[in-house]
Symmetry: C3
Subunit: 429 residues, 3 copies
């Protein structure tokens, strides 16, 4: 694979990390975060002890798994954690028992509607054990004595997450969050962490940012709750827009999940950019939320956080199965998501209010900004500029003007720079 | 007819009262109200003397009619008030004269577009006399000398109305109004009074009401004006929602007539309940008003009153004719209207604002409120509860949350009770 | 042509003025304005010296042209300004040179998509010269030596405009603006000036106006900027609604161009009247502006000015070509525009807030305002009056009530007069 594009770089890192067995705690997640830190040394990794009270929750025990398999009476391993880490229910307690099929079956999970796929199942908050397999394989199981082995343990370790803070000219922050807690799945979830990692690199390269940036890689739900429990006051004070980056790897759709409030700056910027970059995007109401925006938007938390996905969690058939693998995502899929988020960040950085410095339309001709000869519709050439001027009353920001005159914020920014140079525009506030 | 259902009970009472000749004053109306009082002794009956000034109006004379008929020269009664009280124009002055067809015809009313039906005609505020008949019969009238007899009188009696006040925990009131002033017609009007009577019984049985209730049975227009002229200040202070109950007997449609302000609590509750119980309901703007909501919504009166009908006055062909008879309405038609109004009252009683007591989503599992094992979309089972929690910010009431998450207020109430018991919800205010 | 209608009077004056070579300055424009003054002596004509600074602009030199033509080597005039003043690029500098076709061609303008029409071209702010011709003629030009002659001059004269101020009972003003700067074209532009002239006559005849009126005939863009630079403070203080009258001569469409703010009183009145008088009118957003409303709506100027056209500039094929001639417009086309503007002005004059003086519906019968006998839907006859009463709460003005009950402001005014006479209505404020 070509390594020269951002898309292929992201894909390659996802490929490397795909086999790792991640969960909401444990070494799989820890190692993944350390790999990111190798790419971006500014990232810091935090450990929060198990048992810590975080709002209404308590951080559960850390889970460690060495091996897991089922053997039939002939000693053949019919499924093995080594082959696919989805075979074991996440957070399974240890087991080492021989039992008849009837007993084993109570601990098996499969998908009748997708008989070739292994489902992804977890049981974080109730201790149990189980195995997942394709429905085809399950149906083929014969009456037999099976040896079920899970060499795991639950212990007082810690929950791990990574954080990157990039200071800007103001304390106001843009917030990016993605989660690292799923085993071998690609769109949900490796796509999110690798896209956010590339955004981190790009942000670090650009020293001239207006806003500060807060990027976190956390386990889903318990991780965002943990992070909020430590940073809520600061986040409520400073965050002007945030995005939960998840399911950004395939190339079938572009989706937007609104914040609870629907019209926050995060939503405005997201919809504005999508209107130009992915006009056919699918809009999901907050009722279709399902990831960490649930916590960021909770009553009392009230952060302006929405989400842009490619094919959104819950909405594609391979979701939470073994079919959500590396063949589902692509460099192009990842890169388009990356480009959209970058454009959103640029739009937020560029957003401002401008006021024209004279009454009536200015005379653009002598300033070299207007064709001097009126021939039918020649004025169309500078239409965007004239429309911008017509609305530059100091009360409308670039997102509002963009919506009215249908010109991207990025283009408006460049027109504004020209008009400021010509002495015709002033920035307001 | 089966007497065991509320619908059949209402139908039976309407059947009993159908033959009575009601008008805006007089014994027909008085007797009807007394019959209701027999069912619900808490009802009080009021008499207001004729000539009383009520806002811009004066209560007209009381009308009494003994008999009325037209005889041809052969002495045959061609129409007779005894057979159908619609044959006489309401408030007809007395007459006892022999006249040729040409003269009589000036006093006849019929419906060419419905040749078999007798129209319903009144002349309350200008003294005149007249007879109504089917157009078929009118066309068959021959040249002859006709004897027109109406033994009626207009005298200084009184206007009669009934009132039921049910105190609640607060002085804030829910207001129900229906009218009793039409002779033998069923959808418009006996349906309204009998449905309201059953609602009265149901309200009296439930001692634990938050709101006080004000129910009135009045003659239309002059009755509501009279009632308002005596109670306006109190009503403006206390009524939070009111409904004019009319045309609630047939089973062809469910209709809603908005208040003038369109978005009062009465409208919100009505539309919320109809969305779930009668999603195909017809919505009529206040421009299609035509009953006592005209007075309740008048400028300066400004009460939050709207209306839910089955087939609405003016909108069904039998309206104000002899075809609006007992065969037009049904126990099922009446009972559905009763059920809708009862659900509206329950929703108003249940409506409240709730606030979640913790930051982020609460941990429902240990409280037995959430499935502990995550397997694909298992979270769908508690979706309504999770959605409710996501919007329980203390600013939205149950009607608003119901609209956002598409769950009936009644269901939300039961979820809120559970979450209050679990210590997770507090009621606000 | 019949001279007895307003439409034919306007058409005749346009016909008379059609051949005059107008521009943003010069005698053609001056003479046209003097001709208007002959019709309405109250009009005053203003001269503003060239070189005057007007906001961001400077009034350019005055342009004078005596003759212009191109001769081929055989001495034949192949195009001549005498035949059609569109043949010369407006504001052409003088030239008197013999040149080959290749050189001449750099100064020629034609329309390949309309090969029979001469385009209209100007170059006000950059000195150049040029000729316009039909594309058919241009294609037929042979290699030859051509003699290009333009006897014109640019000199320190003045810019001319006309103004008519009509005082009313209040200082609040209604503003009408039209432009006079185009040579031989009919819809754009002679239609505007002649319609506004008839409105001026009509306004002067009616002495009982609530509002003052400000009517101006100016060169487009530089004229409105000049006028604003002299009158802005006064206009901002007093103008409640204004209209830019242009392209009001043909009979193919009725168009409305909104103000920048979209919902000013000018827009409200325009849309209200169009809803009743031209329900199929085309609505153009302010993005489709293109005339002096650009200046009136500029940020900081902020006047409530919109526009009603017949076929709008930019939107009809003949726009800015020789095909926009007298055959394109008609007395009927002009008169409908005149009627619409007159109705708008009447609606603005009539607009007020009314409050009913009693609680509940008033008793209209005894006042002779209501049918006394109720027979089916007889109340429909007074429906407009009853609906008006139902909304006469003192907070809604006639435009708002008109929109709700779908009755023209003019009709509401006449109902209000009746109800005031009956003592039932009071005007609020």
């Amino acid at each position: 694979m070509d390594d020269s594009t951002i898309g292929s770089r992201m894909f390659k890192l996802a490929e490397e990390l795909f086999p790792v067995c991640r969960s909401i705690t444990g070494d799989g997640t820890r190692d993944t975060l350390k790999r990111f830190q190798k790419e971006v040394p500014e990232i810091t990794i935090h450990e929060v002890p198990c048992g810590t009270k975080v709002f209404d929750w308590v951080i559960p025990k850390e889970w460690k798994i060495e091996e897991a398999y089922i053997e039939n009476s002939a000693g053949q391993r019919i499924i093995d954690f080594e082959e696919n880490n989805l075979h074991v229910v996440g957070y399974s307690t240890p087991i080492d028992e021989i039992m008849p099929l009837k007993e084993l079956d109570k601990h098996l999970y499969s998908l009748p509607e997708h008989p070739d796929w292994i489902p992804y199942v977890t049981s974080y908050y109730k201790e149990r054990w189980g195995f997942c397999m394709s429905h085809k394989q399950r149906l083929a199981l014969k009456e037999d004595q099976y040896h079920a082995v899970i060499k795991s343990k639950l212990f007082q370790g810690s929950l791990t997450y990574a954080e990157l803070l990039i200071p800007g000219k103001t304390e106001k922050e843009i917030f990016l969050s993605t989660y690292v807690c799923h085993p071998s799945m690609a769109n949900n979830e490796l796509s999110g962490p690798v896209v956010q990692l590339e955004l981190a690199k790009w942000l670090l390269q650009n020293k001239d940012r207006k806003y500060s940036y807060r990027l976190i890689w956390i386990p889903e739900t318990i991780g965002s709750i943990t992070y909020l429990s430590k940073n809520l006051a600061h986040m409520k004070k400073n965050i002007i827009a945030g995005y939960n980056i998840t399911c950004v790897g395939d190339d079938r759709a572009v989706s937007y999940v609104s914040s609870r409030m629907k019209h926050t700056l995060a939503d405005i910027a997201a919809k504005n950019v999508l209107h130009f970059m992915a006009p056919d995007y699918i809009e999901y109401d907050f009722l279709h939320r399902g990831s960490d925006e649930r916590q960021y938007n909770a009553p009392g938390v009230d952060l302006p956080v929405c989400s842009i996905c490619r094919s959104k969690y819950h909405e594609y058939p391979e979701y939470h199965t073994s079919a959500d693998n590396m063949s589902l995502i692509s460099p192009a899929g990842l890169e388009k998501a990356y480009d959209i988020y970058r454009e959103i960040i640029n739009s937020l950085e560029y957003n401002a209010k401008y006021k024209i410095n004279c009454y009536c339309e200015p005379q653009l001709g002598p300033r070299g900004l207007y064709p001097t000869e009126s021939f039918n519709r020649s004025s169309m050439a500078v239409q965007d500029m004239m429309n911008f001027i017509a609305y530059a009353d100091g009360t409308l920001d670039l997102f509002e003007i963009s919506k009215i005159i249908n010109v991207p914020v990025n283009d408006l920014h460049h027109i504004a720079v020209k008009l400021k140079e010509a002495g015709l525009f002033s920035e307001v506030e």
